[in-house]
Amino acid sequence: MAQALDPHAAIVTTASGAEDGKLTTADGKPLAWALKRSQLKAKRRAFLLVLPLLAFILITFVIPIGQMLQRSFYNDGFSANMPQISQWFAENERGTPPDEAAWTALANDLIASAEDRSIGVVGTRINYDVPGTRSLFTSTGRKVRRGIEPPYREALLEIDEEWGDSRLWSAMRNAATPVTANFYLASVDRTRTDDGSIQQVDERQRVYVMLFMRTFWLSLLITALTFVLGFPVAHLLATLPMRKSNLLMILVLLPFWTSLLVRTTSWMVLLQQQGVINDILVWLGVIGGGQRLQMIYNQTGTIIAMTHILLPFMILPLYSVMRTINPSYVRAARSLGATSWTAFRRIYFPQTLPGLGAGALLVFILAVGYYITPALVGGSSGQLISNMIAMHMTDTLNWSMAAALAALLLASVLILYWLYDRMVGIDNLKLG
């Protein structure tokens, strides 16, 4: 970027002022130094203008997200409430069979955590790794509160022989350190076996990889659809006289400005089985009254509604690029004998690529993170990965899992964002 001179500071003297061959300012300071100084000052001033907002965004946006992502690899639900047994795990290698010291530590921890009512939290943490063990902790907790006598191994095994299960001990060992990669493993449908190696989870439990794939595939499809629908419209808008195109532009901008929930609701009105589109089709006799199409609460609903909602994000960047394309290039090509198709393909289309890139990346990035629309019209087959994040946030309350999924999603969005910045330049983003 060209560095402009600050007009106030550097008033260059005539060549005669440069006795030793160096240019100086009016007050005799070397010009290079003065320039540098004034530039530094200008830089600082510019930066000071941005600083309040930068600080604001850091505090209200960057830090919160960082803090949330920390949960994806940090979960102290077990280690904080079961300190003695965690200590024992730290001192003894994997594979050491639990000795009486371990059982004593376990029993003491169970008593303490049952007393302060944190046993449910401990059980929940282990239940992530070994399903069905939550009640082992809570019921054992209720019993040990009434008193328990050494030797603890026998006492605990008598309460429930599941305490001898090696899978349980392996899970407790994994949970004994708060830092863990298990949630990332789980978000790519992997799990750790008893000996610490990594393997895929049971086929019937696999869901996240498939959902990531679906999210990317649907986003790609939606991007393609917005391109197919957006390109002709943008072209029309760009080539019509200003007065007409401004009028038609309202048809693009009105959906853009209308509440997302309103648009989603109207798609529910249109697409449902007793909805407007099915009514019209039945009325026209295209389908019988008994064969109404299922267009909502499935992938079709998600695709239609999201294409509609994201279409303006494709049209606007395309339009702004197409407006600047000089029509005489195409005319020149035609006059040189190109058919209209060749002229379009070889001359016009390549010039629209910057707009296309901007629109496509924007639509894709927004689609990947969509939550509201799939939640309302997606049914089960139209759910995306963000719905899973929301589910773990609010239903299962497995926040570490939500954070791990969010981290993976965020990483992919940031890569795309970086690409966008490289290819289009973030400062070329325009809205309406």
Binding site: V121, P131, S135, L136, S139, Q205, V207, Y297, S380, W399
Partner: protein, 359 residues
């Protein structure tokens, strides 16, 4: 400068506008159920005590409760939750313990501890009503014989049309097993085994392509009313409301109903703990519980309330035949098993999601 000062003061006041005294925030399930609580509890409570009751609707109030307690950010005072959630939250130390001696006795002097039905009093929770998840269908959609059993729900040949089911394993898997001929008392044994779970999913597979999944209690009623589905499972009180109050041509199949209790709990760190306790005591007394049945078809959790249950608010409908606790409806009913779900909810939810997502 002056405007800046005014602005910042305004923002500061907005920020600290804490919940004033004389207020209690109750988080409940919305819809017809919420209305019944507003009529039976909130209005008389506000009249007697002068405490304002704010009603907040949630898809499942246990969710915001867990979130609020774990994040150390409690905004609700009283939550209306299911038993399994009440037990789980109590185990995790999220709830205030409630001494049954504090609750009002029955009109004849029976102490509360004896007046409540079995399972209706827990360490941290007091039940208000019994409710059932039942199948309902639209009478106008089936010519000839009407469906009458859980098995008919899965019979798409005889009873064509879409089905509405809740998007969770708890209230779908049991129904599949019942429809497959598993007796009600063996449901949890079955669900505890891999084969049983497999069997349930296999049965669900047979209708998977024809299911519209719902998430909030008002949705199955709406789906039936809009004709999106011909049969749906949902909460019996909501269907009753649509049938009696709005005159919808629905009918309930009581076979294979899933019974649950709704409980009032108070989270630790509630902003208005005293008002919350007052509200809880008031709302679970004999008269209030009986009054609620005037507005919705759920069975009161106190024995002494049963005698006071009379007519629906329209003055002509007898409530007893619509109660989930009616002995005729209990034959094949599955009771909620909180312990089972505390252990297996996470696992089965994951399995269920995986099953849902695979097409």
């Amino acid at each position: 400068m002056k405007t800046v000062l005014i602005l910042s003061t305004a923002i500061a006041t907005l920020g600290t506008a804490a919940l004033a005294e004389g207020e209690v925030n109750v988080v409940s399930w919305g819809g017809a159920y919420e209305m019944s609580q507003v009529e039976a509890y909130n209005k008389p409570f506000a009249e007697q005590t002068g405490i304002t009751v704010n009603m907040i609707a949630a898809d499942n109030p246990a969710t915001p409760l867990k979130v609020q307690v774990e994040a150390g950010n409690v905004t609700g005072d009283v939550f209306d939750v299911e038993v399994s959630d009440a037990i789980r939250l109590c185990d995790e130390g999220a709830l205030v313990e409630i001494d049954p001696a504090m609750l009002p006795a029955a009109p004849d002097g029976t102490p509360a501890a004896e007046d409540f039905l079995d399972g209706a009093l827990l360490d941290c929770a007091v039940a208000n009503i019994f409710w059932g998840t039942v199948i309902a269908f639209d009478k106008t959609k089936f010519e000839g014989a009407a469906p009458s059993t859980a098995a008919d729900f899965f019979d798409l040949e005889t009873f064509p049309g879409k089905r509405g089911l809740p998007k969770n394993p708890k209230r779908t898997l049991y129904l599949a097993l019942i429809a497959d001929g598993v007796p009600a008392d063996q449901i949890y044994d079955k669900l505890g085994s891999a084969e049983g779970v497999q069997q349930a999913f296999a049965k669900l597979d047979s209708i998977k392509n024809d299911v519209v999944w719902w998430e909030a209690g008002a949705q199955p009623v709406q789906l039936l009313a809009d004709g999106e589905v011909t049969m749906a499972t949902g909460y019996n009180g909501r269907f009753f409301d649509a049938m009696v109050a709005e005159g919808k041509p629905f009918e309930i199949i009581w076979d294979g109903q899933y019974m649950d209790l709704d409980m009032f709990v108070i989270p630790k760190g509630a902003p208005n703990p005293e008002a919350a306790m007052e509200y809880l005591k008031f709302a679970t007394d004999t008269q209030r519980l009986a009054d609620q049945a005037k507005y919705i078809a759920y069975g009161p959790a106190r024995k002494s309330s049963a005698a006071l249950v009379g007519l629906y608010q329209d003055g002509t409908t007898e409530m007893a035949p619509h109660m989930p606790t009616n002995p005729d409806h209990m034959e094949s009913a599955v009771m909620d098993d909180p312990e089972f779900w505390a252990d297996h909810d996470a696992e089965l939810t994951e399995r269920f999601n995986s099953w849902l997502a695979s097409s």
